[in-house]
Symmetry: C3
Subunit: 299 residues, 3 copies
């Protein structure tokens, strides 16, 4: 049965069908959905829903609904099916690849991409326009590196001498493991020695800066405009909000959470949630913020 029928879709998704059969042509948000649209709601919709079909957790009277435990996941599965494009390996004629680089035949390199000597790019990885890989950068399989991101530029390091600042040569490299997505206009610096490493499945947003010799574990999530100074280490599954700054040589534990705009200047324990500048445990920081708001009215 067609996935464009609510009955067919319910069957494919393994969901429960409620109300009369409907058909959909396109997808939309709950707020914008018209009567030929499929949409979803993570909870019970509080606004009038004018979609043809709603994916949700509990049926809504008068609507054609498909209920599942996770309607957003169901919706994602539909999008993946609708918008799936069989990826064919392709190096655009306007990409510039050093002959010593190794590019998997299924990788996609867009116009303006520059890949310097000794780099490697794994299967099915996509480099969007104007991405730059400095020498010896290793990109795993199934990575997506968005436009304008620069990987492997020199770490920022100068040694003070009697004659002034002397550049510390940066001879390490960057390794991006499998399944990593990196947003647009981010920068990940090469190591002084050894390597800077982004662990498997990590997700990094736009305009993030990752300093030399940082080591990120698996499935680390970093929101936009966050910056890590040199030699920061981050455990698996940690989540950093946007515009966070982390001081050099700091360790951020596994499954920890760092609130947006925090300034982290000491280690964060596994599972801990911190907030503020300098960052403190979130509960404490919220009490500080509350006290601050009352401060002008004291004595």
């Amino acid at each position: 049965m067609s996935l464009h029928s609510s009955l067919g879709l319910a069957s494919w998704l393994g969901g429960q069908h409620h109300g009369p059969e409907r058909h959909w042509k396109s997808v939309s948000s709950l707020a914008c959905a018209g009567d030929e649209d499929l949409t979803f709601s993570e909870g019970t919709p509080t606004q009038e829903c004018t979609a043809a079909i709603l994916l949700c957790t509990a049926p809504v009277a008068g609507l054609c609904c498909i209920t599942t435990d996770d309607p957003k996941l169901a919706f994602i599965r539909v999008l993946e099916k609708m918008f799936h494009v069989e990826q064919v390996g392709r190096v655009d004629a306007h990409a510039v690849i050093d002959p010593s680089a190794s590019v998997h035949e299924t990788a996609v390199l867009a116009p303006g991409v520059v890949v310097m000597s000794g780099c490697s790019i794994g299967a099915r990885s996509m480099l969007f326009p104007n991405v730059v890989l400095y020498p010896n950068t290793q990109i795993g399989a199934d990575c997506r590196i968005h436009a304008g991101t620069v990987i492997g530029a020199d770490g920022f390091s100068y040694h003070p001498t009697a004659e002034g600042l002397r550049k510390v040569p940066q001879i390490g490299r960057v390794v991006i493991e499998d399944g990593v997505e990196i947003g647009a206009n981010s920068t990940i610096d090469r190591a002084f020695l050894d390597e800077t490493r982004i662990g498997q499945g990590s997700k990094i947003d736009n305009q993030v800066h990752i300093g030399h010799n940082a080591i990120l574990g698996r499935s680390v999530v970093i929101a936009a405009q966050t910056g890590l100074a040199g030699s920061v280490t981050i455990g698996d599954g940690a989540l950093l909000g946007g515009q966070v700054g982390v001081v050099e040589h700091t360790h951020i534990g596994k499954e920890s959470r760092v609130g947006a705009q925090s300034g982290v200047n000491k280690d964060v324990d596994d599972g801990q949630t911190v907030l503020g500048t300098p960052a403190e445990p979130a509960m404490k920081m919220k009490r500080i913020y509350a006290a601050l708001r009352k401060l002008p009215d004291r004595d």
Copy 2:
């Protein structure tokens, strides 16, 4: 009469001429102006002025002055006339334009620009070098998008599942209305569904990040390195300082002001001025800052 004569210039500007006629060859700042230069002062100049001609609000003894209500506007009009270049539509041979994109014949696309499928670019808009437009991005008329800016990259969204993070396909688009200027190395993400929209006449500085599904009204001004998380809405005429962060789904009212480096985690009313992290009304935050400075000396 020549605009390079103070008398001719006063007439063209509709200003009042004071002192003997002088001639100018070039323009300069008040501080650097030499005796063949035209310059301006927004107030009464407190430094010695060695320019040939001064645009100002009240005459200065011993100088050739042209007075107007708004000397800076008068100066801008001179600059516009002096530096006006008749713009001729041109797509540089080093730009890469998908055949399905629609580029107005008067638009200018510089080297390294990449325009993907389904994009449109309006009359007289300029894309500076290495700008990237992801699929279906719409750019209105009279826009200026500076070098390295990326419009339409995927919004940052992953859905937690039992098997780990699953990418939420980003199938919406970005719409940039007429008369928008965007600085260098900024990023504006495509919507999950529906659209991310930058309203008419808005001005966005360098290294600004605008998350998926943000909706900006008309004439919004955003200074450098500010970041908006997903689904932020901003009313007409709002002004955000530099390095501001705004939490997702926050609304910033019309004609409001957000001080630099603020962290906005709740809605801002129309016309309100807020400051600090977490942002508070500016008057309150200034009292908090004052109290903070005294805090170490209390009891």
Copy 3:
């Protein structure tokens, strides 16, 4: 004698040799060094050292050591010698250079570099991929400009008028003096009038934003994601941490220090160290932070 012998290396470095002669093939960090590696320690190593040869300040029993006053400088000298590549002037075929630009024959311009009209680039300077120079930008000798950096885009300036915001034409330029290094994806805006200037030997990290008409002295160091609003001036040898914001027209004195994430809204004296938002003298700010942490527990 070969520099790959510890005796030969000690002699070349002018250091003191301790222990039996050893030979090295490659370099590594102290933590990762294997038995064919040369490494260094800035202090006395607290971890077991398994390197062939250690550069350090005092001999370690049982190891082949070379002692010098500054082992890191000694190591840098080795790296410089090992990784030295005779730079040959080269403009990549995928760079786009306006015919009116002046490029020194020893300069290196990578793929995707765009150099607009009237620019000049000095001896031995390197522009990494996708660097963009707007018209009239001047780059001195021995500069390194990393990938994706944009120099000379319009300053962010609009004049309020009865008809709305009117763009202030930006007709000044940017001057980068000799020996400057600028990281990846940074932006340095052209001046409104006159110039934006980066002084000799200054070092600027990734994703730094420098507004129009900023004037930086010699050997200024600015860490990643810091932003300077318009017309900021910075004295020689000042050091700004990462994610700092500086309000327009502020002066930051010679040899001063600004802590990471600070918001500087008033002048900083020569030699002063400031911290926080709004920035205060660091000792004071640390007392404020300490008091803050106790605030929730006060009555």
